[in-house]
Symmetry: C2
Subunit: 199 residues, 2 copies
DNA sequence: CCTACCGATCGGTAGG
DNA sequence: CCTACCGATCGGTAGG
C-alpha cells in the first residue's frame, strides 16, 4: 500500500517483462515477439505488459538496452581487468566466443539478430542498434591502436581488425544457431588469433 | 482461352509474385512480408497472390529457391569459368563482394537475412536455408582442397577457410546494410585475401 | 495490473 | 484471379 512498495513492485514487473522480451526476441526477433505472447508467457494481461512502457517500440528499446547491458557484463567488464592493448583484445576474444558458445541467450547474439532484423527498417530501434554496434567497433579500434603503439601488434589498420573480429563473431553465431556446429567456437578462436597475429 | 495461353499466364503470375516476395523479403524478412502487402504492391487480390502456392510457407520456399538461383547466377556461374582451386576462389571472392556491394537485392544478402530470421524457427524453411548454406560451404571447401592439392595454398583446413570467407561476407553485408559503410567491400576484400594467403 | 473492448490486419477459403 | 468472407490475433486504450 505504501508508495515505496508499489514502486518496487512496478520496477520488478518492468524487469520481468524486459527479461522475457530479451529471451524471446533473441529467438524470434524484436518484431516477432507479440505482446500477447509475452503476456501469456508471464501469466499477465496484455495491458499489464505494455502499460509500463507505453508502446511496443518503447519495450523494444528497453529490451535492447538490457541486451547491451548483458553483453557489457559478459565481455567488456571482465576484459577491463586486462592490460589495455593486445592482452585486452585477447581477453575480449575469449570472452566473446565463450559468451556465444555458452548460449547465454537462447537465440544467440541479440545484437546480431537485431541488426539483421532492423537494418532495413529505419526508426529509433535501428538507430539504437547502429549506435551500440558503432560504440563496440570504436572500443575494438581503440584497443588495437593501443596495441600497435605498444609494439605488440604490427602497424595494422584498427578499423580493419575491428571489422574482422566482428565478422568472425557473426560467423560463429550463425554456425552455432543455424547448424548447431560445435566446431564454430574453435574456428572462431583460430580466426580471431590470426586476425590478431597471435600465431 | 487455349490451355497453353492460360498456363503461360499462370506461370507469369507465379514469377511476378516470387520476384516481389524476394525483393521485399530481403528487406523485411520472409515472415515480415504479408500476403496483403504483396497483393497491394502487385495490384492483385490476396487470393491471387497466395493461390498459386497454397500457403505462405510454400511461397516462402519458392522465394528462397529463387534467391538461391540469383546467388548462383551472380557468383557461382561466372566463377565456374575460372580454373578450379585458388583462381576460382579468388574469382568467387570478387564476385561475392561485388554482389554485396552492388545491392542486387534491396535488403542485401537474402540468405544471411533468412538464416538470421529462421535459425530459431524449426521447419521446412529453416531446413532449406541450412541445406543451401551447407552446400555453399561444401563448394568452398572443395575449392580449397583443390588449391591445396595443386600447391597453390599451404596445407589449410578447408572447413576453416570456408568458415572465414562466409563470416567475412556476413560482416560486409551487415556493415553495408546497417551503416551504409562504403569501406565495407574494401575491408572484406582485404580480409578474404588474407584468408586465402594472397598477400 | 486487470477486464473489456477498439479498429486493423493476419493467413486462408468458398464460390464463381 | 476476383469478391466476399472466416476466425484469430495484432497493438493499443478506457476505465477501474
Amino acid at each position: 500500500m505504501s508508495p515505496r512498495r508499489s514502486a518496487l513492485a512496478a520496477q520488478a514487473t518492468r524487469v520481468a517483462v524486459i527479461e522475457e522480451t530479451v529471451n524471446r526476441a533473441s529467438v524470434e526477433g524484436l518484431n516477432g515477439v507479440s505482446i500477447g505472447e509475452l503476456a501469456e508467457g508471464l501469466g499477465m494481461s496484455k495491458a499489464g505488459v505494455v502499460g509500463p512502457f507505453g508502446s511496443k517500440e518503447a519495450l523494444q528499446l528497453a529490451a535492447l538496452d538490457r541486451a547491451i547491458e548483458i553483453f557489457r557484463h559478459e565481455i567488456w567488464d571482465p576484459a577491463a581487468g586486462a592490460e589495455p592493448g593486445l592482452a585486452r583484445l585477447k581477453s575480449i576474444s575469449d570472452l566473446w566466443l565463450g559468451y556465444l558458445g555458452r548460449g547465454v541467450l537462447p537465440g544467440g547474439c541479440f545484437l546480431t539478430q537485431s541488426a539483421c532484423e532492423f537494418d532495413g527498417r529505419p526508426g529509433p530501434v535501428k538507430d539504437a542498434v547502429v549506435q551500440a554496434l558503432s560504440r563496440w567497433h570504436s572500443v575494438l579500434e581503440a584497443e588495437v591502436t593501443t596495441a600497435v603503439a605498444a609494439g605488440d601488434l604490427p602497424d595494422l589498420d584498427p578499423g580493419q581488425v575491428a571489422f574482422e573480429l566482428n565478422a568472425i563473431a557473426q560467423g560463429v553465431n550463425q554456425a552455432l544457431q543455424l547448424r548447431g556446429d560445435e566446431q564454430a567456437v574453435l574456428r572462431g578462436r583460430r580466426a580471431m588469433r590470426r586476425t590478431l597475429h597471435l600465431d
